[in-house]
Symmetry: C2
Subunit: 337 residues, 2 copies
């Protein structure tokens, strides 16, 4: 049974049946119930793409993230889903695997009518907004969450990265660290640079000399390579006595390396990580974290996106929300074990 056959049986035009199924105000209640009854009798449900074309709505939002095997993003997706579900929307989840070229291709796809709006956390390689301009040109609403392009005017849901970087360094210094180091995972991402700059500002304020070496290590995004880098760092003569890991994955690698190399946390090395893992308390030792509100960031980003989709008068691009993270102190930074 297709739309045409249904219309024929009801002796109505295709357009009338279609509008009735879309609950249009142009159609009388009487006609609507007649159409719905017949549709239900024949177990007819509209082809969503055909229906999307008629309504110019796909009822789908695109969520572009670097990686799904990461607690932050999986929690954020749950937050996004909590809003989308209520709106009867689907999520099209795309993974860029932190590569700009993948992201460009995905965004192009999203600009061609596949989705009604886009939530994006950019790849670690993304420095230009060219691909995103296309979305704005096609009037596809866009909201950044967590990782945004700094100088591109668009809606954003961020956290207080600079302040959190500052706080994590201050905490290490107050607990006795003299040579703290920051493990970065991207030279491009503003979010990561903000964390690093906050870290450096604290070192400055507390007069920690850096021996003319900037205490930042840029880690590879290839797992085996970053593991090797961290291994070399932990086994070197000038091993730092404190580390701030800019993302969860680096902290997990650091823990594995320390276990293998018999470096004791927190005695030899104290660790703070930007992380949303619920299991931080049961790690060996329990891990001090800068904990982001991942679910909440996803939820608010989706909420604003839907305002942008539903109302043309809503000035979406002006919406910049900052949801603060929290420092939670545990054993990995304690003065003595």
């Amino acid at each position: 049974m297709n739309l045409k056959q249904l219309a024929k049986e009801l002796n109505l035009s295709i357009s009338t049946v279609s509008k009735a199924l879309d609950d249009s105000h142009e159609i009388s209640e009487k006609t609507k119930s007649k159409v719905l009854e017949a549709a239900s009798k024949h177990n007819y449900t509209p082809n969503p793409y055909a229906s999307g074309l008629r309504k110019k709505r796909s009822n789908t939002i695109g969520v572009i993230i670097p990686e799904v095997a990461d607690n932050f993003f999986s929690l954020a997706i749950n937050g996004i889903q909590s809003i989308a579900e209520n709106k009867g929307y689907h999520l099209l989840i795309y993974l860029s695997h932190d590569k700009y070229e993948n992201e460009r291709r995905i965004v192009e796809d999203c600009a061609n009518g596949r989705v009604d709006g886009v939530l994006i956390s950019i790849s670690a390689e993304t420095i230009s907004a060219e691909h995103l301009l296309r979305l704005q040109k096609e009037n596809v609403p866009l909201v950044f969450f967590d990782r945004a392009l700094d100088d591109f005017e668009a809606a954003k849901v961020l956290t207080n990265d600079f302040e959190s970087g500052y706080l994590s360094a201050k905490h290490l210094i107050e607990n006795g660290c003299k040579r703290p180091m920051f493990l970065s995972f991207s030279e491009c991402l503003t979010m990561c640079e903000n964390r690093a700059n906050g870290f450096l500002a604290a070192l400055d304020d507390f007069k920690i000399s850096s021996n003319e070496i900037v205490p930042i290590m840029y880690c590879s995004r290839k797992e085996e390579e970053s593991y090797k880098q961290i291994q070399d760092l932990c086994n070197s003569n000038d091993r730092p006595d404190g580390i701030v890991a800019s993302v969860e994955k680096l902290a997990m690698q650091l823990y594995l390396v320390c276990q293998d190399s018999a470096v004791s946390i927190p005695n030899d090395l104290k660790v703070v990580a930007f992380s949303t893992v619920e299991i931080a308390p049961i790690l060996n030792p329990s891990l001090t974290t800068i904990t982001q509100s991942a679910f909440e960031m996803g939820r608010v980003a989706a909420e604003n996106l839907f305002k942008g989709i539903e109302s043309k008068n809503f000035n979406l691009n002006q919406q910049v929300v900052v949801i603060p993270s929290k420092l939670i102190k545990r054993q990995s930074t304690s003065r003595y074990k």
Copy 2:
């Protein structure tokens, strides 16, 4: 620039231009290159839904899973993605949140032409295949992975759940446990029942009396409730001396409870968990796991699904693949700390 305008400029029929863009064999190479050149000049890309309707292909596969904030599923998604990417396909990731009603709604949506094929890991409440029959009726290829319906003929990618359940109980008993218990998270799921039955078979073989009580605790899927159940269990007089957690989440809760209740793992209680966490070695104590090949299971499921999509002669429903899991022994089950 739309298809019509492009056709007009080239002085060709819409159908010819469309076929040329789809690389149809009906169109000469000369015409194809003319069309592609013009399309590229005008930066024209086809609306994917309109194009999907013409080709009857959405170039999208639906992935229906209970939850994304779970290492098994996020790794499986990476495996699926590794295949889909090569095929130029998108993933539409749907979360059932372990509710049958959500799953039914999602499957219905998938049956209406939104996707070319479906990969599903069923919800913990799903006991009937009625909603899935609809997919087969609409000729939408379907592959189960990890969680499948036992008596429903369809392609499946599973692991050796019974054997793994047996192995985990045997390992606990050999390391001194006299009263092991199995933490289940679903009474419906065959996969979970197989793990439980393997566990019980080992108890039988090793003549562990169960005091007329079946040593299985069914845990709530609400996090606060299962936490409370585990807490009560750990603080009761007849606390078990060994636990097999059927899923990762229950093991993490058990660790948190033991930490709060000063129950020592492995001295008071030994723990094995079905889990894919890479961080098992750095938990306190390091966690003995039954480790599934999550990435590989996703990869193989996607590979078979594409065979089903691409070839009508491929007997997809006969494809049942079992990828074995591994017991990895760590401190949480050692005889003495």
